[in-house]
Symmetry: C2
Subunit: 255 residues, 2 copies
């Protein structure tokens, strides 16, 4: 079982969209995938079609009550893809767990006892370097960083990479960087070219070959409560996430 956390404290860069669609693309080729929605906004849960009323058990219960993952995970409309949904209660986790010594390792401990059921676990993080994201980085084998091709997005990367180093020395010595995936790429836009070139120059191999284009079907799909791969399988966005899934598997295999 490989645990990959989708993290970037910069907001709106495509963390949730990547978690949902990469998860679906892996499930589509037979991998058993679990999504863990660690964002109080619950966008991954909504985007994959889990109504609020169905979120009786959630990641809040897993982190705070140590509910086993198997008791919280729900099937989705995608075969081989399950999710532990999120509710807005998650935003109080910083306060609820503030006295606990082991509070950053809660998710890691819960996932440890589930390792037989899934091939991949994808954790969708909120846009902050807070206790929720720390739980995701502590539990992860690797971090996948969606990077929007925009000026502000590049600026936040240094902070994120230094946080990953801190987590590696304090909480999770084996934490690796799975890679950086360029998102919302618009080939007509000079700034995009520039940011992408800068990223490849400074980060080299860490940047995935696959680039996710800006594609309206990716942003329409959540309003139909399904991943883009089901909403419009041959759209540029869906095809890009299928390529990303293939590249992810070949990079891990080669490792």
């Amino acid at each position: 079982m490989k645990v990959i956390s989708l993290a970037n404290q910069k907001g709106g860069v495509g963390k949730t969209t990547t978690a949902i669609n990469l998860g679906t693309a892996l499930a589509a080729v037979g991998q058993r995938v679990l999504l863990v929605d660690l964002d109080p906004q619950g966008n991954a849960s909504t985007g994959i079609g889990i109504e609020n009323s169905a979120r009786q058990k959630s990641t809040y219960d897993v982190l705070v009550e140590r509910l086993p993952i198997s008791a919280a995970a729900l099937p989705t409309i995608v075969p081989n893809l399950s999710i532990v949904p999120a509710t807005s209660d998650l935003s109080s986790v910083d306060i609820t767990l503030s006295g606990e010594s082991n509070r950053a390792n809660r998710l890691r401990d819960c996932l440890r006892s589930e390792s037989g059921d899934y091939d991949y676990v994808l954790v969708d993080c909120p846009p902050a370097l807070n206790l929720l994201t720390l739980n995701a980085l502590s539990a992860a084998n690797s971090v996948l960083v969606p990077l929007q091709c925009e000026f502000f997005a590049l600026e936040g990367l240094t902070q994120l990479l230094s946080t990953i180093k801190e987590v590696r020395s304090a909480l999770n010595p084996k934490l690796e960087i799975e890679g950086i995936v360029l998102t919302m790429y618009d080939r007509r836009n000079n700034l995009c070219h520039q940011v992408a070139a800068d990223a490849r120059q400074t980060l080299g191999e860490m940047v995935f070959e696959t680039v996710i284009p800006r594609n309206v079907r990716l942003s329409e799909a959540p309003s139909h409560a399904m991943p883009a791969l089901l909403y419009d399988e041959t759209s540029a966005g869906s095809l890009a996430y299928q390529r990303l899934a293939a590249e992810l598997r070949s990079r891990s295999a080669g490792a």
Copy 2:
């Protein structure tokens, strides 16, 4: 002096872009404006041209050491526009102030003693409903909510509006909603139309007439360390923010 906080826990919706460009548009018509950068990413500080090396005093010192605003505020390349810059230290404020009783009112107390110097104070918030955003909501006369015309963005609005109600009853009884401004509007995109129509239908008068279009000059300007109004004054983005400033002033005057 009117304190307006730019808040929305959904990431990447245009909080920083609105703070910088609305601030500049108000300064351009003679209003004395202070930006307060409350985001550990420091995007507003970078976007207005404040190098990291110039951020010796920052919002961290204001919140934690109770440094007076006048000792932290820096002039910018825009006449009439100053900024209290942010550094990544801000991300530890939750922990540093965790034992303090009055921790959500730190910014409010600091701004109280500055009221003579500015006509407007715009506070740029991080994408989270955390202690930093609570400080901004406690200090504010009103909240301006940038709303991206996307499905996920609409979903987060309910959480934000209920947090504003909670803050009104617990911390700041006079907190009003200045309005909701639609951002990154692309008239060729059906989803945009739909989200904009939904927002106007459910929120009515709260939604500003002025809509900010998706405009590449707005995302290019920060890489030149200046607001779009200086980078390209006649671009669609700049003109929209000038209209927004005019509408903001006429809405307040009419109040």
